[in-house]
Symmetry: C2
Subunit: 310 residues, 2 copies
């Protein structure tokens, strides 16, 4: 109460403590850096937005650090860029090496990771393998037998360093194995995580001598590309072909994409909370998120089955 009134009086008088002075005196910045490989992708923006809300709710400033190329990445970790600027770093998607993590810690940063894991560091991760399995089971349950996997291969210029969604491929294989479905390496494809490459990848999968009747795409962006390629190939979804994505992208509803929701905003929130915990000296917290199937209009029984049913 008193606190609030003082704050209000201060605001009215236009008084504000000098952050630089108090930072210098205390050695704490009450600032957190958010480190992402790319800002303009929906996933990262959504994580940052959610994390930022809890962070600023707790009185932290949030500093933006985009490391979009391997070059920027090595420069970022080689120089003490965060030293004295933030107390902690929330690192999204980048698979940190031991040295990179050590570099952050030597700059006095507490660290929270989203989408990767490191001994001793707080992190939040998605049960991607389970998610992949659930996606493919959905297709198997509909009666599909030839199911392709359209995965994310890292671009040469990507700073990610590690292939987080590799787990999604494992889940795909798990589901096939469980069902006793024959696994066919020619149906597994890895492309860059863009709509364009998703389309090209889908087009290529359609040229197999025995083409698939469904695809599990490791991201919604790839799935959007796949949908576009299928349309161009004259195939109608889901009548002629089924597609499952992964993300529950804000636009996946608009195109009626069946997908896996892995709680993107939730990832940001949990990571921010874990980081705040770490900043107050709490031992590293690890959270796991389960992905859940969202059925929309891009999946249906394969043509053969439905024809038979009539």
């Amino acid at each position: 109460m008193t606190r609030k009134r003082v704050q209000k009086a201060a605001d009215e008088l236009g008084y504000a403590a000098s952050p630089s002075a108090s930072r210098l005196a205390t050695g704490r910045t009450r600032t957190v850096a958010v480190v992402v490989p790319l800002l303009s992708k929906w996933f990262f923006a959504e994580v940052i937005a959610a994390a930022g809300r809890v962070l600023s709710g707790e009185g932290y400033d949030v500093l933006l650090a985009e490391v979009s190329t391997p070059r920027l990445r090595s420069e970022f970790f080689a120089s003490p860029r965060l030293h004295g600027r933030s107390d902690g770093a929330l690192v999204v998607a980048l698979q940190l090496t031991g040295e990179e993590l050590a570099a952050l810690e030597s700059q006095g940063q507490s660290v929270a990771l989203v989408g990767s894991e490191r001994p001793g560091a707080a992190s939040v991760q998605v049960q991607d393998r389970d998610g992949g399995r659930a996606a493919v089971r959905h297709l198997l349950n509909l009666g599909h037998e030839r199911i392709a996997f359209l995965g994310i291969r890292e671009a040469p210029g990507s700073p990610l360093g590690g292939v987080p969604p590799a787990e999604r491929l494992l889940g795909y294989r798990d589901a096939l194995l469980e069902a006793g479905a024959p696994s066919d390496p020619s149906l597994e494809l890895g492309v860059e995580n863009t709509v364009e490459d998703g389309a090209a990848g889908m087009a290529s999968l359609l040229t197999r001598v025995q083409p698939p009747t469904a695809v599990f795409a490791a991201s919604d962006e790839l799935a959007f590309g796949a949908l576009s390629a299928l349309r161009h190939a004259g195939l109608e979804v889901p009548r002629d072909f089924s597609v499952v994505g992964y993300d529950n992208h804000e636009l996946s509803g608009a195109v009626g994409l069946t997908t896996m929701d892995h709680g993107v905003a939730e990832q940001g929130r949990l990571a921010a909370e874990a980081l705040i915990g770490a900043l107050s000296g709490e031992p590293a917290r690890t959270s796991r998120i389960e992905a859940r199937l969202v059925v929309r209009g891009s999946t249906a029984p394969p043509r053969r089955l439905r024809a038979g049913a009539r």
Copy 2:
């Protein structure tokens, strides 16, 4: 050269000047705040990403400020939140009141605006009226006569405060007037800028006694919604209906949307440069960007004409 070698030596020794100390001594933070109504929309993320690259290239830290509700907005401007934290603010889309601008300036901020204009402040704007006119002319040239406008109405909870894309509506009317096409207020609709509302708006436009054959949507998100509504209504685009969007959203290529490209990244870049200029005492710089038509697959002559042509 020497400078570079000193930098390198410093990096190797792990030495880094204390930002707090130098900020306290100089009174300059070498930090810029980016103020956006929403982080997780593609447009804002893209503007921030582009601005952030030029800003950090010039050695500025970038601080994130999301003011996503009217409440947060008034709190943000009522308290000296940026005082001593940043030297300048890059304000995206928010239509600042005179007091809000004054509040920023009293906190020692240089200001650059994107998507709005204020006497004395640097800004970058899009020639939205021209852009709207060009979009509608494209439809008129194809032979459409009943062209609807699906515009952005501000949500009650929106912090934007002003309707920037109102210019797009004026451009729409200009084009109709030029062509001597009858203007019909029942074909002008304003909805919230979401895919869902775009779909609902399109559905509603289709119920007019004399329905349109084409729509100009004031954003690509609205256009995505429109495409989805048209599909649900059993209409095929562009055979039965034409759609033009506005943004050149990263996913508009995937759905084959004809749209207006207003150089979103360029807006961010120019604003950052204008802000850097303002920070070094240069007089307020104003840039204007022209939107340009990108023809994809969502527009074609109206059915009547094509049938007649055969």
